[in-house]
């Protein structure tokens, strides 16, 4: 269903299923446990293998945004499937989450701002 990895203090969340109400609670729990355990604050969602998402996914993303925003973290979504674009546009999530990035560009900009 999902795979969690850590890279440069980012939690990489690779989801491998449709995102609906059936899976959002499990995704939420796994992410929060890992963030707390490893003391991480940024989440990079890899949506390469997500062909479908409904408003349950929007709620899940907003919830994770609120969670990391409190501790100064950020949320990124990479490899967004075109199927998900209409619902993302509608949700207004683009104001708080970066959808137009790839892994390299995220890591690069983080290393740059750290060096400064």
């Amino acid at each position: 269903m999902m795979q969690l990895d850590v890279l440069d203090k980012n939690l990489i969340v690779k989801i491998k299923c449709d995102i609906d109400h059936h899976v959002t609670d499990k995704i939420k729990e796994k992410i929060e446990r890992k963030l707390e355990l490893l003391n991480l604050k940024n989440i990079i969602f890899d949506f390469e293998r997500v062909d479908f998402m409904d408003s349950s996914g929007i709620g899940m993303l907003i919830g994770r945004y609120k969670f990391v925003d409190k501790i100064g973290g950020k949320i990124y979504v990479i490899n967004l499937n075109p199927n998900l674009k209409p619902i993302i546009e509608m949700s207004g999530l683009k104001k708080i989450i970066n959808f137009d990035c790839d892994l390299e560009s995220v890591l690069k900009s983080q290393r740059k701002s750290k060096a400064e």
Binding site: D18, D20, H21, H22, T24, K28, F52, D54, S55, S56, I58, G59, M60, I62, G63, N83, P86, I87, M90, S91
Partner: protein, 138 residues
């Protein structure tokens, strides 16, 4: 082309994907575009999820899914016998949710309305809710 299916299912979250897949398979002979198919699957998922979370909450109840095709028109009805909606107008407002505690965003009805050609909601408190959605394919 004219065809119709009726499916009775339990209000279990596993059936959210089942409902989407059944409808997608049923309308496949109409050759919808990828976008049309995705719009319809999302709207079905929203309505079925609402019956599961809001209508029946912790209980298990019956959800009836009807899908009818007539020429290029797809009509979908999702019906439950749950809690019902007291104020439909308010429930359909964007961002309104009665369950912010569950990480709901209040976007379900807005998604249905923007992804389908027409959405009609009929509901009676303590009797249940019926969501009728129509999509005219290109």
């Amino acid at each position: 082309m004219k065809n119709k299916i009726n499916i009775v299912m339990q209000s279990k979250s596993e059936n959210e994907s089942f409902a989407r897949i059944v409808v997608a398979a049923f309308i496949a002979p109409l050759n919808p575009t990828v976008e049309e198919l995705n719009d319809i699957k999302t709207a079905v998922s929203e309505a079925v999820t609402n019956s599961i979370i809001h209508a029946y909450q912790e209980k298990t109840g019956k959800i009836i899914l009807t899908c009818e095709i007539f020429e290029r028109r797809v009509k979908i009805i999702i019906k439950d016998y749950g809690l019902g909606i007291e104020n439909i107008k308010k429930a359909m407002e964007p961002l309104y949710t009665s369950r912010p505690d569950m990480e709901r965003s209040g976007l379900g009805f807005t998604v249905m309305q923007s992804f389908m050609s027409k959405v009609i909601v009929k509901s009676k408190k303590n009797f249940g809710t019926k969501v009728i959605m129509i999509k005219n394919l290109a």
